[in-house]
């Protein structure tokens, strides 16, 4: 299962970075969203994917045949939620910037906000 996941990571990060390098504010935010998806997958892959048994105990310590590391999952869960917070904040900033400056072109923003 690792090879497809690694492929997904590589493509998602590449596309995310390409969009972050653009001038349109909304596309930069979308690019960051893509990158955070890729990074979440990276965290998962770094722990080793195992056979795909969920980390749920059946008995006292009975953990099935091929255990999955639960720790990266806990980290990713946090990361997903925080990533949402970041996206929300960025979107609001983009909205507010456009309201104040009248442009969503990052190349035109330089120095404009200070003049306001």
């Amino acid at each position: 299962m690792d090879v497809p996941i690694l492929l997904v990571i590589a493509v998602t990060l590449t596309c995310g970075m390409y969009m972050v390098l653009e001038r349109t504010l909304l596309r930069v935010v979308i690019g960051l969203g893509l990158m955070s998806n890729g990074v979440n997958l990276m965290l998962l892959a770094s722990g080793g994917l195992g056979a795909g048994t969920a980390p749920i105990l059946h008995g006292q310590r009975d953990y099935g045949a091929s255990p999955v590391d639960p720790l990266p999952q806990a980290l990713i869960l946090t990361a997903i939620v925080i990533g949402f917070g970041v996206t929300a904040l960025l979107l609001t900033l983009a909205y507010r910037t456009y309201q104040s400056v009248g442009s969503d072109d990052l190349g035109e923003l330089d120095g404009k906000l200070t003049d306001e």
Binding site: M1, V3, P4, I5, V8, I9, A10, T12, L13, T14, C15, M17, Y18, V20, L21, R23, T24, L26, R27, V28, I30, G31, G33, L34, L41, M42, L44, A45, S46, G47, G48, G52, T53, A54, P55, L57, H58, R61, S66, V68, L71, Q73, A74, L77, T78, I80, V81, F84, G85, T87, A88, L89, T92, A94, Y95, R96, Q99, D104, L106, D110
Partner: protein
């Protein structure tokens, strides 16, 4: 020995207590500070007999992990400097207490001055090269603060900066030299280094280390070609010039040369280079001194010249030369300190220090003039002052040098007599008119007694030198050459070839004064070294600005490109040097075909987000990427992640859609073009990070801490879903923090949308 520890600590204690001890306006600061420095002087004086009898050392642990210790050692050499620091210090402090006007910030002034005195004592008592360096730079910093004391003046700030750049820069070179020596010997203790001097001299780094340490010494002591900071430092209040830039700080370089002489003079380049530099500095400095019209500038160049003389003596590393060096250093501290203080008095009373404007001092300030003449005589080397004896000793050494050096040095001696006569006679004879005579009045005793005491000391050094300082000089010279020195026979009365040279130099100097000074140009020429410094400084500023402007574009994508490229390059370099490990297993089981198919969804979604022609399509593509991620999560055994991802993705797509209504359409203006450079950067980033991840997966050492959670999940937390238990129980506080972050983000979003400053519509 403990007396000396107390003596070195007292100034620092004083500096720390000064703000609390002084009255609100700081009027009594000067007297409190003087009390500390006089006490320090007393402690040095009390400790002297014991230390001269038996030099000693004390060590404290400082940074044990680095093998550094804070050690103090004292011998004659340290004591000779300590006497200058605390002795001249006592005079200068009390003088400054009377000299500074009530409007000055005395508290700040004396605080800096005490810190300087403590740092200087630290330099001369340090038995470890690293602690010596720390104190050395502390003297540079306090000198910076004191030169810039009148910080509202442009010239003060410029002078302070120049002094700091040159002396602290030299200090850094010296540190590199120290570290080279330390790595050769394996210890920074000066005693160990002395013991290993043969080993150092034979090492291939020896010459480099000697040159670097020499750089530290000649920048600090304002030797050619680094002399230009000292005249600029004359912007400092006059007591500072007397103390730091005549009597003590500029002598730190001499101390370094003397202290390290026994080691470094074994390296062939040391003695010749320093001798030539010293002699050239002496003559060049005295030549420039003759051309000044500002009294303080004249004294600054004369200090440069005298420092060159002493430097040449210490560089010889012979018993007689070291004796001459130590003796002249004591003399110079006394007479030059006094001269500077008197210039301060003159400026205080006459409101100018321009030689061409000053009225005749002989009739206006007779008492001051008498003291001034005595000090100048000592500097010129004319009996009965101490300067005469030290100049004789110097000439004796010079006559044994190669003849070009002898000629230059004797020329320097003539010029020295010339500028001393400017002070002694020139100031006394100048013309004045009647109006000035009415205003003029003699210096007040409160200001005059300090210089008078110093000059009296210089006179005693001439009359009874052996009785007064014989033991000290002998011990100091012995430490400076690292061997035995015969008890010096310093006497005024002798017949030797040097006496003839001396008489000739004095007569030639008189001629220089009569025919040279009387017809000199009124404007002092700008120093070449100054021009070089200024060109360097402006060039540095200009180029730094251009460099910064070239990458601080204010454009987000350029910043990101630079950051990513630096990351890629450094990680690639690491991969080349450390090696890339591709041996990590490709998973516990081979991937099945349908998994490849599933993986195609997020890949297609990501590409779709990039190529999407409209905003809506891009947002939906991002949503597709997120939802397909949930699918992947469920396939690899992460049901909680899948559920969370679905929830969050739903909300964020809704959020995007509600936001995009308010944002403009994609580039209505023109269609976006494909950017090959950014595509290359992005691909390098994606592939590089994935490769790094794959490399990292092969590097796992030890077990996973997840075992703990597996073991205790049911037993301690009573839950079967380990991920849930980690989030709400084991790491419950982290989750609380996460919730707070979301709360703050929500509040910020609300504030951004709702709150805005009242704007006046035109």
């Amino acid at each position: 020995m403990w007396g000396l520890v107390v003596a070195s600590l007292l100034p620092f204690v004083g500096a720390a207590l000064l703000p609390f001890l002084s009255k609100s306006r700081g009027d009594n600061c000067g007297w409190i500070a003087s009390g500390f420095i006089v006490a320090s002087f007393a402690a040095v004086a009390i400790s002297t007999p014991a230390v001269l009898h038996q030099p000693g050392a004390i060590a404290f642990e400082w940074v044990p992990s680095l093998g550094l210790q804070f050690s103090i050692a004292a011998d004659g050499l340290s004591l000779a400097f300590a006497f200058l620091i605390t002795g001249v210090g006592s005079i200068v402090f009390t003088f400054a207490a009377a000299y500074l006007g009530p409007e000055e910030n005395r508290r700040r002034f004396f605080c800096y001055l005490l810190i300087f005195a403590g740092a200087m004592l630290g330099v001369v008592f340090a038995a470890n090269l690293i602690s010596m360096f720390v104190f050395w730079e502390l003297t540079s910093v306090s000198s910076f603060l004191l030169i810039g004391f009148w910080h509202e003046r442009d010239a003060s700030r410029g002078g302070a900066l120049k002094a700091l750049v040159i002396t602290a820069g030299g200090g850094l070179a010296m540190l590199v030299g120290f570290i080279l020596i330390g790595s050769i010997v394996g210890s920074y203790e000066i005693a160990d280094i002395m013991a290993a001097r043969e080993q150092i001299a034979a090492h291939r780094w020896a010459t480099a280390a000697a040159m670097l340490i020499m750089l530290g010494a000649i920048t600090k002591s304002a030797q050619f070609p680094f002399h230009s900071w000292l005249p600029s430092a004359m912007e400092a209040p006059t007591p500072v010039s007397a103390y730091l830039h005549a009597a003590t700080m500029v002598k730190a370089g001499l101390y370094l040369v003397a202290r390290m002489g026994p080691v470094l003079s074994l390296i062939p380049i040391w003695t010749p280079t320093l001798t030539v530099l010293g002699i050239v500095t002496m003559t060049w400095g005295s030549f420039l001194a003759l051309r000044q019209t500002d009294l303080k500038a004249l004294l600054a160049f004369s200090t440069i010249s005298q420092l060159g003389l002493i430097m040449a003596m210490f560089a010889q590393n012979t018993a007689s030369a070291a004796t001459a060096g130590v003796f002249h250093m004591l003399n110079h501290g006394l007479f030059k300190g006094a001269l500077f203080l008197m210039v301060g008095v003159i400026e205080h009373e006459a409101h100018t220090r321009d030689l061409t404007k000053l009225a005749s001092l002989r009739s206006n300030m007779p008492r001051l003039f008498a003291v001034l003449v005595l000090a100048s005589l000592s500097m010129a080397g004319i009996p009965p002052m101490g300067g005469f004896i030290s100049k004789e000793l110097f000439l004796e050494e010079v006559l044994q040098m190669p003849w070009p050096l002898t000629v230059i040095a004797v020329l320097g001696a003539c010029l020295t007599v010339g500028y001393c006569l400017v002070l002694a006679i020139g100031l006394g004879l100048t013309h004045q008119d009647e109006a000035e005579r009415k205003h003029a009045h003699d210096a007040p005793t409160a200001l005059l007694w300090g210089p008078a005491v110093l000059v009296f000391g210089a006179l005693l050094l001439g009359l009874v030198p052996t009785f007064l300082a014989g033991g000290l000089i002998e011990s100091a010279a012995a430490a400076a050459i690292g061997g035995h020195v015969p008890h010096p026979h310093l006497t005024m009365f002798h017949l030797s070839p040097t006496l003839i040279v001396s008489v000739a130099a004095i007569s030639a100097g008189a001629a220089v004064f009569r025919f040279g000074w009387m017809r000199r140009t009124p404007d002092a020429p700008k120093l070449v070294a100054d021009r070089v410094y200024e060109a360097w400084l402006t060039g540095l500023e200009h180029n730094a600005q251009r460099l910064t402007a070239s990458y601080m574009s204010g454009l987000l994508w350029r910043y990101v490109t630079i950051i990513v490229c630096v990351g890629i390059i450094s990680m690639s370099a690491l991969a080349v040097f450390v090696g890339f490990d591709a041996s990590a297993p490709w998973g516990a089981r081979p991937a099945q075909t349908f998994e490849y198919v599933v993986a195609l969804i997020p890949i297609a979604a990501a590409i779709g987000a990039v190529v999407a022609p409209t905003r809506l399509a891009a947002i939906l593509a991002l949503g597709a990427s997120g939802f397909s991620l949930a699918l992947l999560f469920s396939l690899v055994g992460a049901p909680d992640l899948a559920l969370t991802q679905i929830m969050v993705e739903t909300v964020s797509v809704a959020l995007f859609l509600s936001a995009f209504v308010h944002l403009p359409a994609y580039r209505k203006l023109k269609p976006r073009k494909f950017q090959p450079l950014y595509a290359a950067v992005s691909i390098a980033f994606g592939v590089g990070v994935t490769a790094l991840l794959h490399h990292a997966r092969g590097q796992r050492v030890g077990g996973t801490i997840a075992d703990y959670f597996v073991e205790n999940s049911v037993e301690k937390a009573g839950g079967h879903n380990i991920v849930n238990v980690i989030l709400v129980d084991f790491r419950g506080l982290d989750t609380l923090g996460e919730i707070s972050v979301l709360g703050i983000a929500a509040l910020t979003c609300y504030a951004l949308i709702k709150l805005r400053p009242e704007r006046k519509r035109p």
